[in-house]
Symmetry: C2
Subunit: 219 residues, 2 copies
Amino acid sequence: MPIPKNKIPDAAVRRLPVYLRALEESMSECAVVTSSADLSARTGFTSEQIRKDLAYFGAFGTRGVGYDTALLARRIRKILGLSRGAKIILVGVGNLGTAFARYNATFPKDVRLAAAFDSDPEKIGHGVGGLVIQPADEMYDHIHREQTKVAVLAVPSEHAQGVAEGLEKAGIEAILNFTPVKLRSGCYVQNIDLSMELQSLVYYTTYAQRDEMKGKAEG
Amino acid sequence: MPIPKNKIPDAAVRRLPVYLRALEESMSECAVVTSSADLSARTGFTSEQIRKDLAYFGAFGTRGVGYDTALLARRIRKILGLSRGAKIILVGVGNLGTAFARYNATFPKDVRLAAAFDSDPEKIGHGVGGLVIQPADEMYDHIHREQTKVAVLAVPSEHAQGVAEGLEKAGIEAILNFTPVKLRSGCYVQNIDLSMELQSLVYYTTYAQRDEMKGKAEG
């Protein structure tokens, strides 16, 4: 049986890679067993949150002992679908796409880019982050042939919706969307909205405290 | 009284800009009142989650009616510290910094970059996203003078820790960290880890379902 989508809350899914990173750290220190308190110290999430998240997919540690580090890491990788290596492509190699591709070598192997595409003839054939930039019009064939399911979308805003539609038709199921466009798509779309990141960041500065004081003074 | 830090859970703080965006959409459609069901439809979060988050800072809608759209937007902006315009600088204008700066014009006014700095003499004086790139060694004076509290860090990894320390000393309180370096800092650090975004994204594809089936077959 496939996992019913949305069985695990999105917020929990987004924490799984953080736990996985912590478990890998723990393994690199040869820890056979990792407690939720240890995971908490490594990730900043509370032990309660961690236990709750892991229970969603039936991973229960041994009370007073903890989780089998390697086993839990393997289970998380399986739940996320990383066990056999996901195939991911980059669509659009402008400044952001280039920056993204350059990070490629620092990414865990299971989520490295398999290919990069751009429509600019001047870019095609050039290397970026260990990949050769391929012509955009070969992209849909590639997706078909390689059974690619994940795309990183970093094209100019005006092309975003059109390209997303083409990706979906070709078989892409999930998009990491760097454009500010709110995509209408049957794919699962994860938006990277940098301005929202900044807005929430300001909360952690004294700007927020001054505003709050001003609010109080105003009544 | 300043807001005690961590009074509102980080996850709720990170949802506030999403609600703010939805309220602004609602206002642009001239909706005087917005219900949590409406916010839910616009954001994808459940009404329960929304009501719980907003209750953290005492924003209670009128039962069966909803929230005063403009008032709630104003309160969220105040809580986040956006009311008077936060001052934000960009540190490092490589590919990622350039991409970030180019989005600047599309950002809400309250979180637009005020300045951009780089140590490469060839970049200094050039324009990016409406800003003139300034020499890195003038950065600390700028932070002091302008009482800047937020920095976007997009320098090469090997410089990240050193630059972060300088920023903290100069008065920066919150950092949006695009480098893969785990910063040791007294600042509030929000990491943008693109590989984790990809790892959680794979969950929403059939890769995950195949892995799950394989898991079952293995016992």
